[in-house]
Symmetry: C2
Subunit: 147 residues, 2 copies
């Protein structure tokens, strides 16, 4: 098993805006992909679509302003059954976001790509909350031939 880890600090007085950006369709569409649908409630499924492919995430845990956890129920084979956790805490002027995409069976090349891509999308989340403007797909930062 292998995991993707990230940490960013979002300059904002409380974690609430970050939590909203992770739990509402409007928030998620502002930094990950504009084509986001579904339910952000526990037990609901969020549907993220990209110019090529997409992911369905079951929301497995929500603790307001503290924690969001998803389980991948549809998408690329390597993603199915993996989990994505977001832990938030306030530290001075920053909301610290600890991100884990856990349970990859093998550290395949696609995992390398997804790791860099997640980092880039976390910067998009940071920008959305700090400046009101993220870079969600299809206007996301291109990192390679795999986009």
């Amino acid at each position: 098993m292998a995991d993707i880890l990230h940490r960013v600090g979002v300059k904002t007085p409380t974690p609430e805006k970050v939590y909203d950006a992770l739990t509402t369709v409007e928030g998620l569409a502002g930094w990950w992909t504009v084509d986001t649908k579904g339910s952000g409630d526990v037990g609901g499924v969020l549907e993220f679509r990209f110019p090529v492919g997409g992911f369905d995430m079951e929301v497995v845990e929500l603790r307001p302003s503290e924690r969001v956890a998803w389980r991948v129920v549809d998408g690329p084979e390597e993603w199915i059954g993996t989990t994505i956790d977001w832990d938030l805490r306030q530290d001075g002027d920053y909301t610290i976001v600890l991100f884990k995409h856990q349970g990859w069976k093998e550290p395949v090349e696609f995992m390398h790509h997804c790791s860099t891509k997640w980092g880039s999308f976390l910067m998009s989340l940071k920008s959305l909350v700090e400046n009101g403007e993220g870079a969600p797909a299809p206007q996301d930062v291109q990192i390679s031939d795999w986009h």
Copy 2:
């Protein structure tokens, strides 16, 4: 043990410019930190310094335009003894860079930070080779309170 993985594609006709940016003091200073000194030859030590702290890397393997491997011989405690591998290959218009920072003893919060930071510096490497301009420290992209 835990690893940081990344993948970027650098739009350039051959891997040679990417290899140069990983093996010369001038190249490394163009995307990672302007304060880079030492020897990029096998057995040599490269010294990377940042506004706070730094890393010393022993160059353990060089295969022109294909592979660069370093071992961390000094720096933060969590980094010492870890290894950093760069594998390059040409794929159409892109040089694909597969990056691995292997051998972390624990997936500590600092590892989360370094993962995101590496992704950001790989984008700086990409920009240096593609446009002639990277974002090395101290002008690097700030991702959090930890810089």
